[in-house]
């Protein structure tokens, strides 16, 4: 960071997080408008962005569904107000009515202070899309938040944890946690030993297998902190007799580009697709990770190189569910006593429609299952969505305005075990459980399946 930019940060302590290199104030407005013009000209957002920026009726129905506003009561958390920060600028510079009538139609010339407000507002939204479920006009504020963050990213406003992780992933290390390849291979060896000990039979984690049916990639953090989830997935593949592989070159599914940058998203996505392509795999299976699944499902068509278009994305839940339906998984629910509940990760539920499959898997693997209320499309976000979970500077916000609704929801469910098949959700929920002293344990879906799996002698 240059001395000048260091000064900028110190002079503007109201920013909710540290960025590595924000542009000097006087350059921000011009760059912002330049980037907005590029975004509107690129064939990416087209109809959705035009509709969302143009048709909001300002009925404020979104606020009644926003868990952040419902907790904070702060006008800055009104989803329509936040979206209006960008909408006003769009109108002023890119619509005829805005150019002609200005404030009369809600248009406003962009100022440096407006950008400050955006840095705050667009990082107080978890992009959970709950507000879009019951919008009478089907306006989805999360897309506007995303575009807002892309614009802020072009000014250098990116949470430091995120930019450091992305640099590591796109650099030599090839993953967000900067784990060397040898350490990763050692980890796989270790997991195989654990698996053999636990299951009583050798369960391999295949590496760089050319022509495997499934190319598997999990968020790298799972290899460090969620070994039980990975072992559960390995056991599931093994029990189903599936042909699968991990890549020892590109194995980190994390794609933080989804939260703030089209350019980063494109690079990371193609790295992953390239690894699958080189191994001649036709299906990329993302582990228990919501955002990586959504990044693949939503953006492969736009950003994936032409030679990768034959590769499809799936989440591990879809694959395991199919194995269950095909009778390839024998589960003994008595192995999971205790009361279990399910947290719908926003990117897997509202984002990918995976509502019933994980429930069917879970119900087959546990004795006692209860629903959280509300659930499915109305489920509350964990409070760390939209990448906020990795922003340490926002920890206090995540524990309060971001996550209080979730805390209450878990408490009221009466469940001892909360199953969350998403690495980001798990991290946030574990912090909530610890911070709010909840009598609950957060676990992955395949951790539970793993315990219930019965291996027949012939397997």
């Amino acid at each position: 960071m240059t001395e000048k930019n260091q000064q900028i940060q110190e002079q503007d302590p109201k920013y909710p997080f540290r960025s590595e290199s924000p542009l000097p104030r006087e350059e921000r407005v011009a760059r912002f408008l330049e980037t907005l013009k590029e975004i509107l000209g690129a064939k990416i957002y087209d109809l959705p962005l035009e509709m969302y920026l143009g048709t909001c009726a300002k009925c404020n129905n979104c606020a009644e569904q926003c868990q952040v506003y419902q907790t904070s009561g702060d006008q800055r958390d009104l989803p329509a107000w936040r979206s209006d920060l960008l909408r006003k600028v769009y109108k002023k510079y890119f619509t005829r009515s805005g150019k002609l009538f200005g404030k009369l139609v809600g248009a406003k010339a962009l100022t440096e202070e407006d950008i400050d407000d955006m840095v705050d507002a667009f990082y107080r939204c978890t992009m959970c899309r709950r507000c879009g479920v019951n919008c009478p006009l089907a306006v989805d504020n999360a897309l506007i938040t995303r575009v807002g963050r892309v614009l802020l990213g072009s000014l250098g406003f990116v949470p430091k944890n995120v930019s450091v992780s992305v640099r590591s992933q796109l650099g030599e290390a090839g993953n967000t946690s900067a784990i060397p390849k040898t350490a990763f291979v050692d980890t796989l060896d270790f997991l195989e030993e654990e698996l053999a000990e636990e299951a009583g039979i050798p369960i391999p984690i295949p590496r760089d297998v050319e022509g495997a049916e499934y190319f598997f990639a999990a968020p790298v953090s799972d290899y460090i902190m969620e070994a039980d989830t990975l072992m559960g997935i390995a056991k599931t593949f093994h029990a189903a007799g599936a042909s699968w592989t991990v890549s020892t070159e590109n194995y980190d599914a994390i794609n933080y580009g989804l939260f703030y940058s089209d350019e980063v998203l494109e690079k990371i996505l193609n790295r992953l697709l390239d690894a699958a392509h080189r191994l001649k795999c036709k299906t990329v299976v993302i582990g228990e990770c919501g955002h990586a699944t959504k990044a693949g499902l939503l953006f492969k068509k736009i950003y994936g190189r032409p030679e990768y278009q034959g590769i499809q994305f799936k989440n591990i839940i879809e694959v395991s569910h199919r194995f269950l339906k095909e009778g390839k998984l024998k589960l003994d629910p008595s192995k999971n006593d205790g009361v279990y509940t399910y947290h719908d990760p926003c990117n897997l539920g509202r984002g990918a429609g995976l509502y019933e499959q994980p429930r069917e898997l879970l119900k087959a693997a546990v004795l006692h299952y209860v629903e959280m209320t509300p659930n499915r499309e109305m489920n509350y976000c964990c409070g760390g969505g939209g990448g906020l979970v990795v922003v340490e500077d926002l920890h206090d916000w995540r524990m309060s305005a971001g996550g209080i609704k979730k805390v209450d929801q878990i408490r009221l469910s009466g469940a001892k075990f909360v199953v969350a098949p998403c690495a980001n959700c798990k991290k946030q929920l574990k912090e909530l459980v610890q911070g709010h002293k909840l009598d609950a344990e957060i676990t992955g879906l395949h951790d539970v399946i793993s315990k219930a799996l019965v291996f027949q002698k012939s397997t």
Binding site: A57, A63, I302
Partner: protein, 219 residues
């Protein structure tokens, strides 16, 4: 041709023509606009029948507002149903099935509900902070149209209003001069129709795209 005669005999066709052309232009423009980014929000109602069922229910009950914003729902529901009712009862009146008074009741309901929504936008802190001049203007404009319609359709003038509209519909505009109130209603009503496709109130078309082309976009 005097100004009054122009408003009475030519302007209505012009207004309706511009309304149709404006709406069609917006529709075609959006229809041609691709949605490269797939921004589906699940669950997606099953099949066309499921989607139509959802939309019909939403259009006629405003369920999404009813569930989360009851105060605004009261006004919004009454306003839209009053508009629908006014058009429906006008048609029934023109074909001779009903008297003119149901149309007037609908116009009363429309005016009152618009004033209620205006009031709500002013007193509710959150709605106020979200509202620009445009929101207030649209409501006031439509309230003015409803009020002008009420003045023009006072009981003793309803038969002349009916024969005037019938004349327009059969492309044989009546030669009888319109009263000042009737001219005002025709003028404001026409202006509103011309304005509608270029305002945010185009959501009668936009909603089709935000739901069917974006929210429910399948592979």
């Amino acid at each position: 041709m005097t100004g009054s005669e122009f408003i009475a005999r030519v302007y209505p066709y012009l207004a309706v023509g511009l309304f149709i052309a404006g709406t069609a232009w917006q529709f075609v423009r959006w229809l041609r606009m691709p949605a490269h980014v797939k921004w589906t929000l699940h669950p997606v109602p099953q099949g066309l029948a499921g989607q139509l069922k959802y939309m019909v229910k939403e259009i006629f009950t405003f369920e999404t507002l009813y569930r989360f914003n009851r105060r605004l729902w009261v006004g919004t529901f009454c306003m839209h149903m009053a508009m629908l009712g006014a058009v429906l009862f006008l048609i029934l009146n023109l074909i001779g099935w009903t008297q003119g008074f149901p149309v007037r009741y609908c116009l009363w309901l429309l005016a009152v509900s618009l004033i209620y929504i205006l009031w709500l936008r002013i007193v509710d802190g959150n709605l106020r902070v979200l509202s620009s001049f445009e929101e207030y203007f649209n409501l006031a404009f439509l309230a003015a149209v409803a009020t002008a319609g009420l003045r023009a359709s006072v009981p003793h003038a309803s038969s002349s209003s009916r024969s005037y509209i019938m004349g327009l519909l059969t492309f044989q505009p009546v030669a009888t001069p319109l009263s000042g109130d009737q001219l005002l209603a025709v003028f404001l009503g026409g202006l509103f129709l011309i304005y509608l496709p270029w305002s945010k109130m185009i959501h009668y078309v936009a909603k089709y795209f935000t739901y069917h082309h974006i929210k429910w976009q399948e592979d």
